[in-house]
Symmetry: C2
């Protein structure tokens, strides 16, 4: 997979022999983006199964449980990680009587299926989302919810590029997204490659351009969506949502149903990862602030459902009341999967 | 004066022999902050007069008019620059019949008076502003409106340190203030030296901490205040003001009356400086974004008066309707000056 920490200067691809290295690549954000880390964890478990020294399926499952704990401890906020791990482990437990070679093949197949489903979901939700974007719109996005963050064409960036490919003349304001600058480094890189007109801005400029009437839509991704539609996403998303509401600009969230966590009633229960201070105080080799000061670095924030105009998933465009529409979206996915597999 | 572009790593002091170098130091932001660049321009004009080769006062005034144009062209938004230049030029024109040595001495005296007045104003407004801060408050500030931005103890940071020195147990959230990071580099440095407890955050975190109930007051400086109380200040200030209102947090502006421009009816007439793209795309030696993309870099934004809970000047705390209270504040200053000089 591509190493996202060295983009946009360098396109470097990483190959893994051990799930421990896969876990490390998630922790250090060589791969990031909620759907992408779900797929990566699934492939990591498939790797653990195929590289396992176990001589029985039972022993392989024991090792896999250990690998699931390690991979699950990498990052706390994106639920896709736990969703993918749980789906892989269910598949493992359901096949505990298979021979070891069969068992390994089943897990590899399931991980690849998770990856392929994400590609399909990206495509479906991008099409649904593109219907919300009008010709001539200026669309603001925060962080990176593009191909790099997913297995396919992306979520928020997928929506944007789908609208562009439909021939809508749009322009994108890209928040640079401090502290890790995923907007400047990744979204700008993706939109440039896709040929979509854009302007890079600092996060602090979003309100100014809204005030000037230059933003018609906001589209962002999500790391976890609670049952009531509260959305955890990259730090700064909440500020963008408040600003959008103050300027009567629709604020859309684009995410696959694997990002919806029906077990969590509202956003207050979503764990927010606190990351290292030097992500804020150091850029490249340059220190930006005095030594020995206190620094906060919450990696995510929670946008309450009242600020969310719609949540776009691969099953369609969900509106409030989200408690009903999100449950229906997850239900639609599950029945679609049942049909696919029947 | 201290070179603000190399803080906080290096404390480097600059000395000038020519007003052209003074002008350059303003353009390149070696000195920045509305009150500070006003004082610097005044001292630059005094330098121009004292270094002039003119043999008559009349010739010296002609040269001074040229210097005023050069210094006035350095940065467009902060009105203190034009206020200080205009005050120096009025003094020059009023003394066009004096001998050259007398003329030079008068201009130096006037520039030093402008500097000393700013020190006094910082102190008065800090005392008035401190009365708005309560024991236990968490105060958020954006950019740097501290001693570095002024001749004295600063405006917004002056208010904060005055409250701290009154024994109020406060804590400050310091927005790093992209793109030039005056919060991380300058405000954090000043507050650390003053021993005021603080936490450095990215601009995108301000809304999150407000949502968590961790911010009780916002205090910022200003680069120009229109007659109706609309406030131009560092880019991102408007976003902070919208967020503060959404969370019922009072948003205060602290600035000397020299920042009030009664000739401008509202904020829409304040010129907003657009600065170089590489301020956004490069930090230190690190490029943050792909090459050849469009980048916006407005250095300021305008916060409408309806979001401003109070404007603190050296004459007191002004509330809406600002059209009346700001005119009164400027009137109070002028009568105070008349008394001082009588």
């Amino acid at each position: 997979m591509i190493d996202q920490t060295v983009l946009p200067e360098t396109e470097d691809y990483l190959y893994f022999d051990s799930y421990l290295d896969v876990a490390d690549s998630i922790t250090t954000m060589k791969v990031r983006g909620a759907p992408a880390i779900g797929v990566t964890a699934a492939l990591g478990l498939a790797l653990a199964a195929s590289k396992s020294d176990a001589s029985t399926t039972e022993d392989a499952i024991t090792e896999l449980r250990e690998a699931a704990i390690v991979l699950g401890a990498t990052r706390p906020t994106a639920v896709n990680l736990f969703w993918a791990i749980s789906r892989m482990m269910s598949m493992a437990e359901a096949n505990n009587e298979k021979s070891l070679p069969e068992f390994r093949a089943i897990l590899i197949e399931e991980a690849v299926r998770i990856q392929e489903e994400d590609v399909d979901r990206n495509e479906s939700l991008s099409e649904f989302g593109a219907s919300l974007i009008e010709d001539g719109d200026n669309v603001l996005t925060h962080c990176n919810a593009g191909a790099l963050a997913c297995a396919g064409c992306g979520t928020a960036v997928g929506v944007i590029t789908a609208a562009w490919e439909q021939g809508k003349k749009i322009h994108v304001y890209v928040d640079e997204t401090r502290p890790r600058l995923q907007g400047a480094k990744l979204t700008a890189w993706e939109l440039k490659r896709a040929g979509v007109p854009m302007t890079l801005i600092t996060d602090s400029m979003a309100g100014h351009f809204m005030q000037q009437g230059k933003v018609q839509k906001v589209v962002v991704g999500a790391d976890r969506i609670a049952a009531n539609g509260d959305v955890a996403n990259k730090i700064g998303t909440y500020s963008v949502a408040v600003l959008a509401q103050a300027h009567n600009i629709p604020f859309y969230v684009a995410a696959p149903t694997s990002t919806i966590d029906l077990n969590i009633v509202d956003g207050s229960h979503i764990p927010i990862e606190e990351r290292a201070e030097d992500e804020v105080t150091i850029v490249g080799k340059t220190r930006l602030a005095p030594l020995d000061i206190q620094v906060a670095n919450p990696a995510f924030d929670v946008t309450p459902n009242r600020l969310v105009a719609a949540i776009v998933t691969e099953t369609g465009v969900a509106h409030a009341p989200y408690l009903e529409t999100l449950a229906a979206a997850v239900g639609d996915r599950n029945s679609a999967n049942d049909i696919d597999r029947s």
